[in-house]
């Protein structure tokens, strides 16, 4: 994939991740810190966390076509780097103040990760349906 194509894909990922983080903050907040009142500045946190979450995507970049095995390895590595990056960022930013919320945090990151992959899969499935219709047309 070209660098420009990679940047475009990550920009799209960014907005999907921000949506996922919004949902995650709402769910985590309601369960672990329901009494906290947030100000307007809280609206920036999903945008900032989303930007931090996109950075480890560099692990997935390759100029040449990766094999399925290679891609699976990169995906696993990406998830690991993503979790470590976000946990580190959480501590530095003061979001993770207790050890007890690290595990739910890791799970939420995993859920947002799967959510992003799912959205991509749904978009690609729709493209595949269009391609199959096009194929039927030229084969008739």
């Amino acid at each position: 994939m070209s660098l420009l194509g990679f940047v475009k894909k990550n920009l799209m990922d960014y907005f999907i991740i921000v949506t996922g983080i919004n949902v995650a903050i709402a769910v985590l907040g309601m369960n672990f810190d329901p009494d906290t009142v947030l100000g307007y500045e809280a609206y920036f946190s999903p945008l900032i966390i989303g930007a931090v979450a996109v950075l480890p995507s560099m692990v997935l970049y390759s100029r040449r076509e990766l094999s399925v095995k290679g891609m699976l390895f990169r995906r696993a590595l990406h998830l690991l780097v993503l979790e470590l990056t976000l946990i580190s960022f959480g501590y530095v930013a003061g979001l993770l103040t207790q050890w007890t919320i690290v595990l739910p945090f890791v799970v939420v990151v995993l859920v947002v990760y799967v959510f992003t992959l799912l959205v991509h899969y749904l978009i690609d499935s729709r493209t595949a349906v269009e391609i199959n219709k096009g194929l039927r047309r030229i084969q008739e």
């Binding site: 995906r75 096009g134 047309r137």
Partner: protein
Amino acid sequence: MKVRIENISKSEEENILIRCYKVNEEIREIADFIRARDGMISGYEEAQIFQIALRDIYYFEGVDNKVYAYLKDHVYEVKNKLYELEEDYHNRKFFRCSKSILVNLLKVECVKPAMNGRFTAKLLNREEVIISRQYVPELKKILQI
């Protein structure tokens, strides 16, 4: 070499005759070009040459500077480069789906999503080839999507 073109009536069958002292590489290239125009291509297997109809080819694959034509249950080596085949046969629905594969769209049963924006094309002979993300816009253009 002299080139002679003769007009004939519509009742006669069109044909091309090459008269030469010896069938060398140059003559083979000319013959291959004419056959390619007619939807045929030369395939090589163990020093034997076979004439293959393009409609029978599922895909071409470039491996280690060699190009192979994959039929339903047979593989032949072809002497053309992959980019030449791409240029010559794009109007015969051959589509470059990855760096090393040129697939016959008329032999694709269906397409499904694979990992990381790639797609898998399942062929009528049950084989599967990968469609790289970078070639998907071109495929959409061909299919007028």
